[in-house]
């Protein structure tokens, strides 16, 4: 590929937010026909750099050259017009519009003045097809789909136009293996068509699989630009975290956790054929104290919905649920929380963050809620808790008073996790808890989960990363087509085993 003139060249970019210097003299070059990975820890400045490029944020310093000419976008609209197509980190679509409307929003095909809805449908189908999403109905309302699917729709929207630059900010954070492969297929075709692609992900293997070149950021500063093939993983990791650290080794000893079997003592929670009309069916699981139950399944298999049922976020209308031996119907999350159940949602933006409140308020919210409004947690205690968890999960910026919406995606996720850890529940349901979290923090959190379990907390663990599930769980429940199809003890279960179960049952 020719490297003469970069399609996009950003030089010495600086952006300062009150309190934080998000970017400090960062350079980035995108060449056509190349996949460029933007690497860095949570809060390193990846998303900010992207927003600086697409004109969401004005830059305080530096220059942006697009197609050779000095150029600065003042609005996302301009960037789009200039052929820069972006998928931002937080799914930013209109939940009440249909899938097709979302995909073609603002560029509806026109015929004779009016727009032709036939054409809209056709184009939507076409691009969904490319992403192997032919099965979803373009006319269906977006909000009826899981966050993962919504993310795919956002991607579809981005690849639908023939752009010269395609920017993907953590597109794979909640996709599982197959979707990732489909996405990569699309990325490759685009790359071969000469599109310049900027790709952000915390999954090293994905980065190494797809990218040709990478730029590494640390604390808003540029570490360097490298050819992927010249930069071994360990080197990359140490460049990102800035110190020699054997992350993989850490992963190893996270894996080395004892296979405890607690099935003899009475289960904390027991679901019998639990289900809900139009949603999941026949969920039958028992969770014992100190046990980690992993939910495995493909995208849209009903893991989230199962979790919501067990938490009372949706009401079950089939089967029964026993908590501590007695039959209970969970009508509201509140009633679940009162029984020591906690649920951290996969949809952090809509179901997690209280954007305009501080990190502190967000941290203590759940605890405060269960205490009731009268018994306010003393400020001192709040601060202690906040500081404790900011340190424990290494949340950046390390300020209790920062508005949570100003935190980076990964750091927001950490805060929400902490919100539930504080309440120290008996059963902790984690739906994609490590979504968008960098490797360093991820290993921390995985360790944390194991320790919590060994201290007797029950945990239901959902992750799009099957390895992660297999590595952590004592037992694994497999879902398929929103129905539970298997529940196996994790004595060396492999990905293949799970896949065969999923494949097998439709025979």
């Amino acid at each position: 590929m020719n490297e003469i003139v970069p399609v996009v060249a950003m030089a010495g970019i600086s952006i300062e937010f009150p309190g934080v210097k998000a970017l400090d003299g960062v350079d980035l070059r995108l060449f056509q026909g190349e996949v460029h990975a933007l690497m860095g820890e949570n809060g390193a400045g990846k998303s900010t750099l992207i927003k600086a490029l697409t004109g969401v944020y004005a830059i305080d310093g530096g220059t942006i050259t697009v197609m050779g000419s000095d150029h600065r976008f003042t609005s996302p609209a301009e960037a789009q017009a200039a052929g820069v197509s972006t998928v931002y980190q937080e799914v930013n679509l209109c939940p009440n519009l249909s899938v097709e409307e979302n995909i073609l929003l603002g560029r509806e095909p026109r015929r004779r003045g009016g727009i032709s809805w036939k054409e809209v449908r056709r184009k939507a189908r076409e691009v969904l097809g490319q992403l192997q999403l032919g099965h979803i109905d373009p006319g269906s309302v977006l909000s009826s789909h899981s966050i993962a699917l919504q993310q795919l729709v956002a991607i579809a929207r981005a690849v639908q136009v023939d752009a010269r630059v395609l920017i993907l900010d953590e597109p794979t954070s909640s996709l599982d293996a197959d979707e990732v492969q489909q996405l990569f297929a699309v990325i490759r075709t685009l790359r071969d068509r000469g599109v310049a692609i900027l790709f952000v992900s915390h999954f090293l293997e994905q980065v190494y699989e797809i990218s040709d070149r990478m730029t590494v950021l640390r604390n808003g500063k540029l570490v360097g630009e490298y050819l992927t093939r010249d930069l071994p993983r360990m080197a990359l990791i140490s460049k990102m975290i800035g110190k020699e650290m054997d992350a993989l080794a850490e992963l190893e000893d996270a894996e080395g956790r004892r296979q405890s079997d607690r099935t003899q003592d009475a289960p904390f929670m027991q679901a019998e054929g639990l289900g809900r009309k139009g949603s999941v069916r026949n969920v039958t699981v028992a969770i014992h104290a100190g046990e980690i139950l992993g939910l495995a399944g493909l995208l849209g298999s009903g893991r989230t919905e199962t979790a919501r049922l067990l938490f009372g976020a949706d009401r079950s209308d089939q089967g029964s649920l026993r908590i501590g031996g007695t039959v209970r119907t969970l009508r509201t999350p509140r009633s679940a929380i009162d029984r020591g159940i906690a649920f951290s949602s996969e949809n952090r933006k809509e179901e997690g963050l209280i954007g305009d409140l501080s990190v502190r308020d967000n941290l203590v919210l759940a605890m405060q809620a269960s205490k009731g409004w009268l018994r306010r947690i003393p400020r001192a205690t709040q601060d202690q808790l906040a500081e404790k968890f900011i340190r424990a999960l290494d949340i950046r910026p390390a300020s209790k008073d920062a508005l949570i919406r100003n935190l980076s995606g990964g750091n927001q996720q950490k805060v929400l996790l902490a919100r539930w850890l504080i309440t120290n529940p008996r059963l902790l349901i984690l739906d994609e808890p490590t979504r968008g979290i960098d490797i360093g923090a991820k290993t921390q959190i995985q360790k944390l989960i194991s320790t919590l379990a060994s201290d007797g907390m029950s945990i239901i663990f959902i992750s799009a990363e099957l390895e992660e599930v297999l590595r952590l769980s004592d037992r694994i429940a497999v879902l398929k087509d929103r129905e539970m199809v298997a529940d196996l003890a994790n004595d060396g279960v492999t990905m293949e085993d799970v896949m065969t179960i999923i494949a097998g049952t439709n025979a």
Partner: protein, 343 residues
């Protein structure tokens, strides 16, 4: 059947039908429509004719609300439009000619557009919250109208002008024809072009729309201008119907009626999905309600209470429907919030 129950329009339509039947019960010839000196005549026609201004204003209001805004100034704009046109006719050399009427109409419409621009400016450019931005014009507007008419009630006698609100064409009230046309145009504009979707997008998620490269500002601006236009025409109807401009009382509380119509029609004040037909039905319900009060001879003391009751029943029907639906859809929490989240 189930599908029918689910349909957002079922309940409003049902309510409307019931109201009409109720009237029919009390006055056997209520639904009767006879021809009298060349045009249709009867309660139904009255409902349509008197309802026309509300329908028109509710139409504009629907788009404003779909974009997550609200326009409290419509009543005042209507008053101003009436005041301007009547004052013009009143002071013009030949106050009874068609030309005068035409010019008056043009002026009034222009004024309406200007006021709409002003509202849109405050909301989309300056970024004042819609309810406040339009509240300003709502209060100031009456004052302006008074200045125009200087506190007097300006009555005019100009047949062409009077036709707008009280005239008939092909046996049908001209006012309702105007409203119908407006509806048609709006329907086409929003559905045949992308405008409708864009408005909804802006209403549902302004941030997302901006990231998607939409020009939220212009879209917002447009809806307020359109609302101003509708209000102006409605103002013409009102004043022409009584051949006089009353700065104080013309279109008083009509904004509330319009908002009610929109909501009864099943559009959420949280913005997003809207239904023009729903609004139409809603407006008719409200108009019929007023008529009902007189047919049933409801004692004045309890009129307000009666009206409120009917409104609340319709809302209850709808929301209980909403709750029933919760059972079927996927993310109940969101659903629920949708009902709650919204002023």
């Amino acid at each position: 059947m189930n599908a029918l129950l689910k349909h957002r329009l079922t309940w409003p339509v049902l309510a409307l039908v019931l109201l009409l039947l109720l009237n029919q019960l009390f006055r056997a010839d209520f639904l009767a429509v006879r021809v009298q000196d060349g045009h249709l005549f009867g309660s139904l026609i009255d409902i349509l004719r008197n309802g026309a201004p509300t329908i028109l204003i509710a139409l504009g209001m629907t788009l404003v609300i779909a974009s997550r805004g609200i326009d409290l100034s419509v009543g005042a704009v209507a008053a101003i439009s009436g005041a301007v046109s009547c004052t013009y006719i009143y002071n013009s050399p030949d106050p009874s000619s068609f030309r005068t009427a035409a010019v008056a109409v043009v002026i009034a419409v222009a004024v309406g557009l200007a006021l709409g621009l002003w509202n849109g400016f405050l909301v989309s450019v300056v970024g004042i919250q819609p309810i406040i931005a339009t509240l300003v014009l709502m209060t100031a507007g009456r004052g302006l109208a008074q200045l125009v008419t200087d506190g007097q009630i300006i009555s005019v006698s100009n047949d062409s002008y009077q036709a707008i609100g009280a005239g008939f064409f092909l046996g049908l009230p001209i006012s309702i024809l105007i409203a119908a046309v407006a509806f048609g145009v709006a329907g086409l504009l929003t559905r045949r072009t992308a405008l409708g979707t864009l408005i909804e997008a802006v209403g549902i998620n302004p941030v997302a729309s901006r990231l998607a490269g939409l020009n939220a500002r212009n879209i917002t601006w447009t809806v307020y201008v359109f609302s101003g236009l509708c209000a102006a025409v409605a103002g013409l109807m009102i004043s022409s119907n009584v051949t006089a401009a009353d700065a104080n009382n013309a279109g008083l509380y009509i904004e509330m009626d319009a908002i009610l119509a929109v909501v009864i029609g099943g559009t959420s004040l949280a913005g997003g999905r809207y239904s023009l037909v729903g609004t139409l039905v809603g407006a008719l319900i409200i108009q019929t309600l007023t008529t009902t009060v007189y047919t049933l001879g409801i004692p004045p003391e309890v009129t307000l209470v009666f009206k409120a009751l009917v409104v609340i029943i319709v809302c209850l029907l709808q929301s209980s429907k909403a709750r029933a639906l919760l059972g079927r859809r996927r993310r109940p929490v969101t659903e629920q919030s949708e009902v709650k989240v919204s002023i």
